[in-house]
Subunit: 201 residues, 3 copies
């Protein structure tokens, strides 16, 4: 039960909360909310593992992830009013979630023997594709395309991690925290100053 | 050519009919209808097998499923007026389809060595994800989120099957029929009395 | 570095252009456009390989495809005005792309040991599913259902290739060109004479 594992469980828990809350104004029932929390939490990591052919998928091999998701859905139900009044806290949770998922996803891909460019993409996919699948299912334009610098931050953070891993002799955990820190920093600056990438055309 | 196999082929056939008919008021051509019937029929089982890493996928390993789908699309074309005048019959077909797909899906997952909680989810996925993919492709809110107790019934039925399988010494076929029976019963009651789960918020 | 490989890289490049340009009037930023180009270019082949359990996926095993995609996105940015004024050239690129992807996809599936009926479907999936995923993500009805005879042309061309491969002793490359030629011919005729399949109902 190391620190990284705890981070993964917490990230899953927070993703489940955000997934369940995403449908709250759609007249969904309990099942729909739970289903959405589930898809959001497992979507990115599952897609990464399927693309890489890495079995069993994390949540299928380790039942704790399923319970973290159930807890997240229940938490979303009981604390949603509180969470809605604290949108800033919600952004913090989301930012922590995507930053750690990105680095852990990139690291896993790298450990499976792919090139660093592919590992960076897999890190980003791990963080954002759960939300993309969720938004697609409820017929909304994926948040990926609407938010201030979001998936881009993940891609940059993953790249930093991979560069540090390749070119320095820093400890793996230090690299991990630095990579995640880059993502957090970019997101905080992007939200604070409403930064966005130049429009395509 | 045992009874279970016949059930699977019939379920595939009925899912193809419902998939092809789902696009009938969208101005689709023959190809679009066939494509939709195909996706609806194979989507759930394919997703289950991909998530579990179980190859070859059922319809790729056994060509009979493809022909069952083609027959379903042709049947949808010739009998659609008849089917539309008998919506009740349509609900019966759909209910039989999801109930057997759920139990067979859960059983397959279990036989691949996953935990019962995961097997229950896989059973439900087998039954409902083909329709979810279909609805997402045509930009409709998945039926999963609109219908009276639907995927929930699958999850409950799968759980009953798994409990019976684990805690009793009943014959496998008896468990299968009891599990499917639970799903059918819940669906019939839900449709008849317009039952639905409490809204999430 | 044979001819087929060059065709695959060019097809990937053109698909990335069409994917990036698909979002140009959606107010996307650079990242969104690149993401769309990426999904469009790798979606069909990735789905085929995942369904067949063939690892590693082409673009994960060979980094050149990733660079072909990046080039395509950059090309879309610099030449989009030019491309928009030449819609006919765009149709030509797209037609060349789907025709070669179809035949190469069908051939790969066949080489993995599936039946010809399945190989034909896999060929068609390779060509059209990238676009289907792209359209689904941006909440548009997949082009597959809107365009004149499109996926149908792929299915017919793949079938021709497989029949030639099975019943004649023609050289593989000749079969490949004949199969692709059938798709191009059907598409050209369909666009020129605005042909479409009969509506389903």
């Amino acid at each position: 039960m190391n620190v990284q594992y705890v981070f993964e469980l917490f990230g899953t828990f927070f993703f489940a909360i955000s997934g369940a809350m995403a449908v709250q104004d759609k007249g969904q029932d309990w099942f729909g909310a739970g289903f959405m929390g589930f898809i959001t939490a497992i979507g990115g990591g599952s897609l990464r593992d399927i693309l890489l052919g890495s079995y069993p998928l994390v949540w299928i091999g380790d039942i704790h992830f399923l319970y973290a998701i159930l807890l997240g859905v229940v938490a979303a139900f009981f604390f949603h009013k509180y969470l809605l009044r604290l949108p800033r806290m919600f952004v913090i949770f989301d930012t922590l979630g995507i930053s750690f998922f990105t680095i852990l996803g990139a690291e896993k891909a790298l450990s499976l023997g792919v090139r660093p460019e592919i590992a960076a993409i897999m890190g980003m996919f791990t963080a954002v594709m759960g939300g993309v699948i969720r938004d697609t299912l409820i017929n909304e334009m994926p948040v990926l395309f609407r938010k201030e610098i979001y998936a881009t931050a993940c891609l940059i953070g993953a790249t930093c991690y991979l560069l540090l891993d390749h070119f320095t002799t820093l400890d793996r955990d230090v690299n991990l925290l630095l990579g995640a820190g880059v993502i957090i920093l970019i997101r905080v600056l992007a939200v604070k100053f409403k930064l966005s990438l130049p429009a395509f055309k």
